[in-house]
C-alpha cells in the first residue's frame, strides 16, 4: 500500500485529494454520501467579510464537457462560517482549507487575519474571482496588484497562505512569481476560465451575469499546462485543479507539478467522484510500485 500522505506547507494531508472551493459547500451534502474524513482536505465555499447574496439565476450553463457558473460568491460571511461551520467540519478527520475573497487590499488583509485566528488548517486566498473587480480587472491578472494584495495578507496570516491564481492571463508564470515573491506559501490553480453561452432561441446570454467561469474536464489540458509552467517558475507547493475526474487525472496533474489536487465540477456528475478518484490513485500507485504519492510531484520527463 503506497503512502498517500503529503506534507503541504507543514500541514499533513492524509492524501492529496481535496475539494475545490465553491463546488462542495461546507461539506454537509456530500457528507451524506461518504465520510468526509476520507478526503485529504476540504476546500469550503469562498468566504467574504460580509454575507453575500450572489447573482440572480441562471447561475449555470452547460458546455461541451464543462460548465459555466456565475454564483457570485454567495456565502454567509466569514463570521457565520467560523461560528456555524467549523464545528461541523471539525467532526471529520480532514483538513479545512478556508477560501477567502475581498474587494480591496484592506478587505483581503482583514479576512485573512480573521480566519487566521479561527480553527482552520490552510488559508486559500482567491484573487481570481471575476466578480471582485478592481478597475475592471480582477486582482489576479496584474502582477503588481497580486504583489500588493498578497503582501498585505501575508503580514497578518498566521496559517499557511495559498494564493489561488486566475487562468485568464497572458503569462501565468509571471503572476505566480509575483505571488511567491510577495510571500505566498503555496499556490493553487486554476480558477475558472472566462466563458459565455447564448440561448439561440431567446438570443439572451444563458447566465444572468452574461459571462461566467468555465470549469470541468474541458479545461483540464489548460490546467495541466499552467501547473507545469508554474511548477517550473516557482518553488512553492501547488494544489492543482481544473477538470480532474479520475485517479489518472490526479497522477497527470501531479506529474505536471502539483503536490495536492482539488476536485470540483466532477462531483456534480458523480457525488462519489473524489473518493473514487482517490481509490483509483491508490490503485495506480500500487500497480506501478510507487511507494509514496509525493514521488509523482513534478516527475514529468521532458
Amino acid at each position: 500500500m503506497a503512502d498517500l500522505r503529503v506534507n503541504f506547507c507543514g500541514v499533513e494531508l492524509k492524501n492529496p485529494v481535496t475539494t475545490a472551493s465553491g463546488t462542495f459547500g461546507f461539506g454537509h451534502e456530500y457528507g451524506e454520501f461518504y465520510d468526509l474524513g476520507e478526503l485529504g482536505g476540504i476546500g469550503v465555499k469562498g468566504l467574504t467579510p460580509e454575507e453575500r447574496l450572489g447573482n440572480p439565476a441562471p447561475r449555470i450553463a452547460e458546455t461541451p464537457m464543462g460548465i459555466l457558473n456565475c454564483v457570485g460568491l454567495q456565502n454567509p460571511g466569514v463570521d457565520r462560517f467560523i461560528a456555524e461551520q467549523i464545528p461541523f467540519l471539525r467532526q471529520y478527520d480532514t483538513r479545512i482549507i478556508a477560501n477567502v475573497s475581498g474587494t480591496s487590499v484592506e478587505e483581503y488583509a482583514g479576512i485573512v487575519e480573521k480566519i487566521s485566528d479561527a480553527d482552520v488548517d490552510l488559508i486559500e486566498m482567491n484573487i481570481s474571482c471575476p466578480n471582485v473587480k478592481c478597475g475592471g480587472l480582477t486582482f489576479g491578472t496584474q502582477p503588481k496588484m497580486v504583489e500588493e494584495v498578497v503582501s498585505a495578507a501575508k503580514k497578518v496570516a498566521k496559517k499557511p497562505l495559498i494564493v489561488k491564481l486566475s487562468p485568464n492571463v497572458t503569462d501565468i508564470a509571471e503572476i505566480a512569481r509575483a505571488a511567491v515573491s510577495a510571500g505566498a506559501d503555496a499556490l493553487s490553480l486554476i480558477n475558472t476560465l472566462l466563458g459565455m453561452r447564448i440561448d439561440v432561441e431567446s438570443r439572451r446570454p444563458i447566465l444572468s451575469n452574461i459571462m461566467g467561469g468555465l470549469s470541468g474536464p474541458a479545461v483540464f489540458p489548460v490546467a495541466v499546462r499552467m501547473v507545469y509552467q508554474v511548477h517550473q517558475a516557482v518553488d512553492v507547493p501547488i494544489i492543482g485543479m481544473g477538470g480532474i475526474r479520475s485517479g489518472r487525472d490526479i497522477v497527470e496533474m501531479m506529474l505536471a507539478g502539483a503536490s495536492a489536487v482539488a476536485i470540483g465540477t466532477a462531483c456534480f456528475a458523480d457525488p462519489m467522484a473524489p473518493v473514487k478518484a482517490l481509490h483509483e490513485l491508490e490503485q495506480f500507485l500500487d500497480d506501478h510500485g510507487i511507494a509514496s504519492v509525493t514521488e509523482l510531484t513534478g516527475a514529468v520527463q521532458i
Binding site: 465553491g22 451534502e29 451524506e32 450572489g54 439565476a57 460548465i67 454567495q74 457525488p271
Partner: protein, 255 residues
Amino acid sequence: MSIQELCTVRERQALNSTMFALTMEAPRISAAAQPGQFVHITCGEANLLRRPISICQAQDGLLKIVFVVKGEGTKWLSERKAGDVLDILGPQGHGFDMDALGAHPVFIGGGIGVPPMLLTMQTARANGAQPSAILGFRNRDAVILEEDFQALGTTYVATDDGSYGIHGFVSDVLGAHIEEYTSVGCCGPKPMLRALASIAEEAGIPCQVSMEERMGCGIGACLVCACALKAKDGETRYGHVCKDGPVFDSKEVEW
C-alpha cells in the same frame, strides 16, 4: 436523504412525439420518495451534468418519470430501452407540505408540470383528502396522464387552443372553482404559477408552487440553482431549488 442508485429501465413509453415515460426499478429511491421531489439523472457520457426530472410515480419499488425532449440530455433519455441502466440521485429536494393541504386541495399542472402532480394527488388522497386536479396543455396532442388523474378525483383539462377540454388557461378554471378548495399545489411555467398564486392569495388559501432552475450538483452544495425569495426584512434572499425547493410557499417567492 439523497441516494445514488443504478436503476434498470423496466418500461419506456412514448406518450406523443416529444413526451416519454420511463419506469425504472429503483427500490431505495422509490421507497423514500415524497410528492414534489425530483431525481437527478446522468444522461449519457456526452452530457456532463445530470438532468433534474420530477417524480411522477413511486410505488412497489418502481419509479416513473415523464419528460419532454428539450435538448441533448432529454433526447438521450428518450432513447433508453428496457434493460438499460440509469445512474440516478434521489429523491431530491423538499416537496409539497402535505400537512398544509386541507380537505380539498387542488393540484394544478401546466404542460410538463403535470407529471409531479400525480404522485402528489395520489398521496393526498391516501392521506384522506378529497383532491381535485386542473391540467393545462397547449393542445389536444399534448394531453398526458388524464385518466390517471381522473381516477383520483375531479379533473378538469384545459387547452390553450380549445382543441380539447375547456378552452382557456388553468388559471381561468381555478378562478371559476376557487371556493371549493382549501389549498393549491401547482407546477408549470413561471407566469402560470404567478397567476395561480395571486388567485389563491386573493381567496386567502395557501398555495405551494414547484419552481424550476438550472442545476449543478442537485443536492445543495454548489448554490447555482438560486430562487429569489423574500427575506424577512423585505430584501431578496436566494433559496436553492434543489434543496430548499423545488416546492416553495408562493408567498415566499419573489415573483
